[in-house]
Structures are given as structure tokens and as C-alpha cells.
């Protein structure tokens, strides 16, 4: 069982949380749950409703569409982040490729934290803008 501090150390690596002050990140850490997956276990499937985002603590999770691999999320990397922000269904399937541990944050808890802490919302918006700009640069082919 990880402490709040240890969860904050992990969550601060998630790009959209990078602008959230550590103290406020503790509120998110408080609602983040530790989950474990066996090797080969499915975390979620394509087209399922999305309610949770994950941050891999140890192990590795493969994100794929059918047999086509999109990426592999390893320790310190998040996946399924957009689940926190909209009601769209999952666009990939996530499968643990080795015994894995992750932190999971539910959208409902996330929204509760945002509603009660406007500074968290502001910081996450900054993080989102950074991510969108990064995507824009990739699309334009800029460094």
C-alpha cells in the first residue's frame, strides 16, 4: 500500500498533472487506487465505456487495436488519460504484458477534486494546453 507522498511522486510524472502544485496533487493521490494485473490480463477493451485513467507503477501494459500494437506503457507512464475528460469509449485495448501495478483514478473522483479545487483545474488546463501544443507540433512536423 503506497502512501500519499509516494503516489504524488508517481502522479507528478503524468504530463497533464505536471503543472499541478504537489500539495494539490495530494488530493488526486488520495483518490488514486492501486490496482494489479496478471500477465496477459486485460485492463480494458476497445469500445468499452471509459471511466478510469491509469499510471503504470511497475510492469508494462500493451495498448493495441486488434493485433496492431499502438504503444507499450511502462513504469512511470500513464494510459487512458482522456477517460478523465470525456464520455467517449476506449479506442484501444490495454493488456498487461507482465505482472503489473498501476494507480487508477476514476473520472467521478477526479471531477469531485476539480470542482472543489479551482487551482487544480487551472493547473490541469495548463497541462492540457501543453499536451495539445505538443500534438500540434508533432502534426506540423516541428521539433
Amino acid at each position: 500500500m503506497r502512501t500519499i507522498i509516494e503516489k504524488v511522486i508517481l502522479l507528478q510524472e503524468v504530463d497533464i498533472f505536471s503543472e499541478v502544485p504537489t500539495e494539490l496533487l495530494a488530493y488526486l493521490a488520495a483518490v488514486a487506487e492501486e490496482v494489479e494485473f496478471e500477465s496477459g490480463e486485460t485492463v480494458f477493451r476497445e469500445d468499452e465505456s471509459a471511466e478510469l485513467m491509469y499510471q503504470v507503477v511497475s510492469g508494462a501494459v500493451r495498448l493495441h487495436r486488434g493485433e496492431t500494437e499502438v504503444t507499450i506503457a511502462r513504469a512511470g507512464q500513464p494510459f487512458g488519460t482522456w477517460a478523465l475528460f470525456d464520455d467517449e469509449r476506449r479506442v484501444v485495448t490495454a493488456t498487461a504484458v507482465e505482472p503489473s501495478q498501476a494507480l487508477a483514478i476514476a473520472r467521478e473522483d477526479f471531477v469531485d477534486v476539480l470542482a472543489d479545487n479551482v487551482q487544480v483545474t487551472q493547473a490541469i488546463l495548463k497541462g492540457m494546453v501543453r499536451r495539445i501544443r505538443g500534438l500540434g507540433r508533432i502534426v506540423r512536423g516541428a521539433p
Binding site: 502512501t3 500519499i4 507522498i5 509516494e6 504524488v8 511522486i9 507528478q12 502544485p21 504537489t22 500539495e23 495530494a26 470542482a115 472543489d116 479545487n117 487551482q119
Partner: protein
Amino acid sequence: MAALRRALGLEPGDLPRMAPMFGAYFLTLTAIYVLKPARNALFLQGEGVAGLPWVLLAVAGAGGLTAFAYGKIADRLQPDKLVPATFGALAVLLLAFRWVLATEARWALYAFFVFVQLLGLLTTSLIWLWANSAFDPREARRVFGLIGTGGIIGSIVGGALTGAVASRLGTSNLLLLAALVLVSVVLVLRWAPPLRSSFESRSRRRRAASQDDAGADERLPRLLALNATIIGLVAVFVDVQFNSLVEKSFLEAEQKAAFFGLFFAAISFSSLGVQLILTPWLLRRFGLGPALAALPTALGAGAGLLFAGPGFPFAAAPKAADGGLRHSIHKAATEVVFLPVPASVKQRAKLFIDTTVDTAATGVGALLVLGLTGPLGWSYAQLSGPVLLLAAVSLWTVGRLRSAYVDAFRRALETRRLDDTALTTGMNEAAVAEVLQTALQSSQPRQLVYLLDLAESVGVMGLSRELRPLLDHPSAEVRRRALNLMGHQADALPIEVLDHLIDHDEDPEVQGEALFLRLRREGREDAMVAMLDGSGARAAAALRVLTESPQPDLLTPARIERLRALPEARATLASAVAASGLPFESTLRGLLENAPFDVVDGAIQGMAKAQDPRFVPWLIEALAQRELRGAARRTLAALGSISVPALSELALDAKAPLAARRAAIRTLADVADGPSTEALVELLEDDQPIISGAALQGLSRVQPRFLPRRRLRRWLRARIRTARLIRATRRCLGGRPEPGPGTRLFQRTLEEQWERSLEEIFSLLGLLHGREAMRDAYYGLGRARAEVLEYLDNTIRGGLKDELLGLFESEPKAQTLDPLFEAWMKQADPWLRATAVYARAELQGPGALAGTRDLHPLVQETLQHLEAAS
């Protein structure tokens, strides 16, 4: 070298920047004091003492003309070009005078006297202009005194050199020596510090000049010119008094010469002492005011002594004061005053004051002395009267100068902020009306709605002719907004038009709006009752009127029961019932049970009208519910002082939900009376930074008369201490190779805490010393740090100032980890304590936490986990 730097009170990096300026000023004064004896000797030899008043008047006249012509040239050149060019030209002119003087022409003696006088003024002014452009205000405080010292040593060396070599070289050849020294100044200036960015580009400088001229307050240069004039006049009076008394006291020429020599040597040495010890100390410890006041105070005291005992030793007092302080402490302090003056204004003002004002004051002083001692028959001792008077005026000017100096910094910081954020819509009523008159013909509903919103927000009146056709517009939204806008103008809507809309408009909202306006215009009870008992839309309109002008007797239990069943009327019913002040338990509570959001929201809005304390407990409960929080907060604020006790209780309740506490704090700030301010101040010491931060933010909206200044100062000191602890810890952790994740988290937390501490410190300073100015200072810290610190130095007093400036200017002492972590464990913020505990275990091992106790759940969790892990 480090010991020398510390002994001189300098910071690292000051010495190599200061040394060339010290050298340049030393050489400049050496040249001047080689030339002055040569000039005096040549003039007295040729023209005698009788010519002196006339040549002084010539100096005044020529000074004005030279300053005008030179000002034109100087305006086109940057100081780093202007200064070497001027020194080079003066050296060439000296060579020319060496040749002209050999012709023994009478006019040449007058011309040379005036030339040396102007050379002295111009060269010293230029060196200080360079120094002024190269050092920021904080550096200036440290180094200007020392640069001035260079000048004093130069004057001693110049005088001594002349005495030693004059007989061997011949008086005329001293000009060649001086020219050589002036050229060496140009060489030394090659190592002088570069000019600050404000002098970088000529075009930029010209653009800045026009902006500066347009916006700059000329108060500071004008006050400086006034003070220079007063001091110049006093100097003439004191000089005449001194010379007359020397003439009486010493009969023989040799005695006079011996006394002059000893006196000026003593004055130069005392001036050196003042410059080395008193000037830096006075400027650093007490700031500008006392440093500027030193000379007029000493002159006044000297004049008083001369009055009290007009014997010789007393007569020397004003002259000693003038000689000892004028070119040391007074000069250095005056140069500091120039620092906040915009660059372009500074260059012109400095040259004008140093040349024109000084020489004009000398000329006017000479004329006044001639007038007072001649036709009016005053004795020289009686000149002490005007000296005392002028010293008093100078002290008054010093007071104004100090406040103008602080204002200039405040304005400079403010302008920077406005430059960055200046955004204005330029929107006004006339502009909107003009746009509307043409745009209202548009058939685009969205465009029309936007324009109608704009017209309402700006408060445009008198457009009834253009608005009237919109009541038949196909869009219900356009009709409703046009109706609403016309409703603000009593004569714009005839009753028949409203009746027509009530009976024939298809949209219930337009009908309701028309009904609302109709009932507000003609408040007939029979009409009101008919509406209340009519359809849902009509009843809702009637209830809106009842919310604005409550009539509790119309809201009978039977009618309320009927209206509850009408979905369109439920929200306005709740609002009207609340506004009517009907018993909460028997009426409103029933209405609100399981009611939809709009009904509860309507009730909360109605409560604001009732001003009934019985609603307060329910509203306080509503603060805990996210969707009701905004409306409850506004209503509690509208209830004012009667809600403060309950709000304070909620805000101070550490177990209450954080969001509800923050909402309570915001509401307390909205009420902003004495008791709510007390609660906010108490909350400054809350363990939760979010709460203390919200309280601080809230206090910025409270009237200053309610603020407990002593408590705020105490809290400010505590925040400064925390900020110092952050700096010391950052320094201690900074050099460690490959810190672990816990240490990195603690370092990041410290960075965040540092930012927050600064914000809080400047917010508190804003409460004590003006919010706008301190906000500008806070935002200026990044780009105009030196100016901000100088502003704070002159705004804040006592020990608090030292603590605050020390936070920014003193390097934290190297410390070991143990005392730092012990200090962190005493901080109120549990997050900081928890991260500190985690980092300490990582850096020193879990054993270092033995004996650490903390009751906060977050810290306890961390401690228990670390103990288990070990």
C-alpha cells in the same frame, strides 16, 4: 581581495565594475585641481581680486550658453560615445589655451577662467552620468560613495601635485599636465562597466524619450534643480563670509596663504573621512532622506553658530560644512536620486542641473551678495540669516525629493505592468449607440442578440425608435431582449404594446417579460391576483414582481399549494416566498424538499431580499453543496453582517469541508466589516495553506481601517522567516548529486512554497503599504529587481525592512541538514512536514527520524510507512 570587498561593504562582482569608475573620477578631479590653482594664479596675477565678481558673472552667462549648445550635441550621442569625445575635445582645447595664454592677451585670462570653471562642471557631470547609466539602484547605493571617494583623493593629489611641480614646470605648463590626465581618463573608461540596456540603441532611446516625455512626472528633476539652486546660493554666501573673516583675522598675505592651505587640506581629509565612512553607512542604513538632509542641516547649524558667536572659529563652521559634505555625501545622495528618472530625461536634466543651474546660482548669489552688502548695507555676518532660511527651504525640498523618488519608482514599476497588459476595448455608450443604429437593421438573430446584450451592458438609452420594430422580430430571443432593454426606459413602452404582447405573443418568456413590465408599471392588486391565479407563465411573472416588491398577504397557503403544482412557477414561487419573509419551517422548507435545482436557486435568491437571519443556518448548510454554493454565497454576502458569526464559525472549523470553508472566507471578504476582518486575520494562521491563502486574498478587499496592522506585521515577519528557511534549505540541497525521488519532491515543494511565500509577502505588504504599488513591485521582481528593492527600501521602515531586503540580497548561511529539517518540522503546513520527513529518510536514513512525532494524519502515515520499510 574578498576581505577588501567585505571591508568596503561591496557584493561579489562590485569591485571590478567599480574600480574603473573610481579611477576615472580620481583622474578627473586630479586634472581639475591641477587646473584650478593655475587658473587662479594666472587670473590674480593679471587682473587682481577686483576682477573676480565680474568673471563669476561671466561664468554664469557662459555656462547657460554652453549648456544649451552642449545639450544639443549630447542629445544625439550615447554616454559611452559622448564622454570620451568630450574629454578628448577638452584636452585639445587645453593645448590651444596653452598657446593663447602665451600671447598675454587680457581676454584670454577671462576666457580661461570661464573655461576651467565649465570644464570642472562638465567633466564631473559626465563621469556621474556614466556611473548613473551603468549601475542599478542597489549597486549605486554600494558603490557611489566609493566613486566619490576617488574624486576626493583626486582633488588632494591634484592640489599636492600642483604645489610640488608648479615652480619647476611653470604655471602655464600645468595645462599640458592636465591635458595628459584628461586623456588618461578616456583610457581608463575603456574598462568601465557597460551601460544598462536603457542606453543601448539610439532609435530605441529616442522612442523611449518621446514616451518618457509624454508620461514622465518632471517633479523629481525640478526638485533636484531647486535644491541645487539653493545649495549653490548658500555656497556663495558662505564663501564670502569665510573670505571676509579670513581677511580680518590674518593681516599678512603669507598667513592667509598658510591658513588656506591648512584649511583646505583639513577639509579634503575630513571630506575623505565622510566619504569613506559616513556616506556608505548613512545611505545603506538610513537611506536617501538623511543623506540628502546632512548638508542643509550642517549649513543651518553652522550659520546658527556664526550668529551665536561671530568670532573666527565659528565663522569657519559653515564653510567647513560646505567643504566637507557638498562633494561627498551630498553629491553621492543626489546621484542616487537620479536613478529612477527615465534615461532620456536623466541625460538632459543632469547636464542642465550640473552646468546651467550651478553656474546660474553662482551668478545670482554673487549679485545678491553685492546688493545686500552694498546698497542695503548688511554686514557679512548678517548673511547668516538668508543662509538659515535657505537651509530650511532645502530641508523642505529634501522631504519632497524623497517622496518624489519613491513615487518615481512606484510609477516606473506601474508603467511596466501597464505596458505588458494594456488592453482596452475603447467601448463607450456613444460608440455602441452609433453601431447599433445601423446594425439593428440586421436580419441575423445572433448578431442582434449580441448587440442588444452589448447595449444593455454599456447602458445605452434612447434607442426606442430602433428597438420598437424588434418586438415583431421572428426570433423570440431578440423580442425578449429588446423588450427587456426597452423596459429600462419608462416612456419607451406604451401600455398597449405590452398588452398586445401579453395577449398575442407566441413565446411564454416574451409574454412573461411583458407581464412583468406591465405589473411593475401598474401595481394594481386586482391585476396581480388575476395573474397569480392564472396560467403558469402569468403566475411566474406575477411572482417575479412579488420577489422585487414583497406582499406576504397575497401568498396564502392555498395559493402557494396551487402554484407548487405549476412547473413554470415553482422557481419564482420559492423566490417570492423567501423574499416575503414567510416562516421558513412552515412554507419554504416544504417547497425545497426534493426540489429541482432551479427552485432551490430561486429560493436562495429570494432570501437575499428578505434580510432575515433565520435563513442563515440553511444557507450555511447550502455552502457545502457544490451546485448551490455560488447562489448561497451571494445571498449570504447580500445579508451582510447578520451572516458573519455563522460564516466565521464555518471558516474556522478545521473539520468542515475545504470547499465550504473557502466559500465562507470569500463571503466574509464580500461583507468586509470589522468582525469579518477579524475572522479573516485569524484564518491567516490556519494550518491549511489553501485556507490561509484564501484569507489573505480576502483581506485585500477589506477596507484598510479594519486591518490590524501590528498582527499583519507579525505575520509578515513569520512569512519572511519561512522564505529564508526555504532559501537556506534550497542551498543546502542544491549541490547534492543524483537526489532520490523523495528529495526531488521536497525540492519541488520548496520551489512552489517559495513562489507562494513571495506572493503572500507582497500581498501582506500591499495591505500595509498600498495594494497597487506592491502588486506592481511583485510583478517587477523578475525584470526590475533592483528598482523593486530600492522602492521597498524607501517605503518600509525599521527592522522589517532589514529582514525583507536581507531575504533578497543576503546569501543564506551554509547550514547542515539537521537544524533545517528540525525547523521544517515546526512549520504549520502538513504537506511540507510530510515531504520533509520523506526526504530526510532518503538523505540521512530512517534512523534520523527517531523521536519525530507528528499528529497530522498525512505526516503520521509517512512516518509509519518509513518505519515499516526500515
